[in-house]
């Protein structure tokens, strides 16, 4: 669909295996709106990158391009050194290696919690049923919802559903996990239970891209903060640097609005 070949020569040599996700000169439009403008972003293996910025800055779109839920107009995206396939079986295989957690959970409503976590293993990984169930139960235990395994998603609280969604993504043994505002649809008292699971993941060495408004999580878990505004990456820094000493006016303005009330 999108021509991938008309891109200028990459500045660096072929990315080393240490760079798990590489976005190079990525552009995307929604009609007249230029939502992603010349995005260059490299995420190393084991790195936790938190993407923050005002609404409509393109954070979620950026996150969704990494497993091609959104197509891009130009530029390249490499995952583990291989370009993102345009469609078909190759793309499906790549998506299986990229875990995704959505704002609205998106658990399969007609399947039980256990079935949700088993589905990808059975149908994509072709694991046998017993092994899949064992793994699903241990993952549900890890995110603290083992006792809800036989319920349907609608019977769970938002926080529980989001933790199941994390378990569902983890069941595929992803190389990288994408979180698209995972706590934005949650009641305040449920946010922490989800953030705790994400903290554990980060400490366990999972490569993560997290779009969020949770500045506390960014401070404590992120290796790097990426600040986006108006479709551009305005600033990239360590959390300490970014929160205590932002360089750009746009970031200063943003932080002053969210941190002072």
């Amino acid at each position: 669909m999108t021509p991938m070949s008309n891109v200028s020569v990459t500045k660096d040599a072929a990315p080393t295996a240490e760079n798990l996700v590489v976005l190079d000169n990525v552009n995307k439009h929604f009609g007249a709106l230029h939502v992603l403008q010349d995005i260059d972003l490299t995420i190393a293996r084991g790195e936790v990158v938190v993407v923050i910025g005002p609404s409509g800055s393109g954070k979620s779109t950026l996150c969704r391009t990494i497993n091609r839920l959104e197509t891009i107009d130009s530029g390249t995206i490499l995952i583990d050194g291989r370009p993102l396939p345009a469609e078909g079986r190759e793309l499906a295989r790549l998506r299986a290696d990229v875990g995704m957690v959505f704002q609205s959970f998106n658990l399969f409503a007609h399947k039980t919690v256990l079935e949700n976590v088993m589905l990808g293993q059975l149908k994509v990984r072709r694991v046998d049923k017993k092994a899949a169930e064992e793994k699903a139960r241990s993952l549900l235990d890890r995110v603290g919802v083992a006792n809800q395994a036989d319920k349907y998603p609608a019977q769970l609280s938002g926080g529980q559903q989001q933790r199941v969604a994390i378990a569902r993504a983890l069941a595929m043994d992803p190389k990288v996990m994408l979180f698209d505002e995972p706590t934005s649809a949650l009641d305040p008292e449920m946010i922490n239970e989800v953030l705790e699971v994400m903290q554990q993941l980060a400490q366990g060495g999972m490569t993560m891209v997290v779009v969020t408004h949770e500045m506390g999580f960014a401070r404590s878990a992120a290796n790097r903060v990426v600040f986006m505004a108006d479709g551009r990456i305005v600033e990239e820094a360590t959390p300490d640097q970014f929160f205590s000493n932002p360089r750009s006016d746009r970031a200063k303005d943003f932080l002053s609005k969210i941190l002072h009330h």
């Binding site: 295989r93 875990g99 995704m100 959505f102 399969f108 409503a109 589905l119």
Partner: protein, 240 residues
Amino acid sequence: MSDETPSDEARARENVFDFLDSGQYDVLGAFWVTVQLTVYSAIGSLVWGTILAAMRVSPVPLMRAFGTAYVNVVRNTPLTVIILAASLGLFQTLGITLAGGSDFETIGFRLAVLGLIAYHATFVCEALRSGINTVPVGQAEAARALGLSFFQVLFLIILPQAFRSVVAPLANVLIALTKNTTVAAAIGVAEAAALMKTMIEYESDAIFLVSAMFAFGFVVLTLPTGMLLGWVSKRVAVKR
């Protein structure tokens, strides 16, 4: 019919009911053919209608175009025309017998089933398509993000949820189908309506009774269908 004339009352009673005792009309047998037409056509319509719906939501433009064209042409053609076309066109002109041998009854039955499937699948397709629209787009995105293929997303995630939300409209299609099997009489299938026509001709003194009997027969077939599927509809509804 008897032509002896005892008392008026006895004669009236005899005239009204004798066609049931005479063994001349196999009413249950005729309704059995109706049931068979309905069951085979329902299964076929469900399968073909699902395939059509898959075509209409497929990413391949040619598939979408075919699905749309088929549904709009067939849905807007009278069923009688379709059934007659199956008989006159497929069988009598092209000699297609659908492996029905040389038995006209079997050939007619199979062609009628074919026509009923071709027609009712369009309604199944459109009901399903409206069901697909009730499934939030996030369900498909989550499934794609797991690495499921287009067909896996459709058949494991989208259609199961779509079916659950359209049980009631599908019940309407099934009830309409049950009654529409009567059109098969037009190509000589010995189902209920064909027998009714015969009986009205030979039992003209009992037209109301004959008509009421067949109407009752169809109610017996369709009323439980509607009630059962209404119950199923509530049972399988997806909670969000």
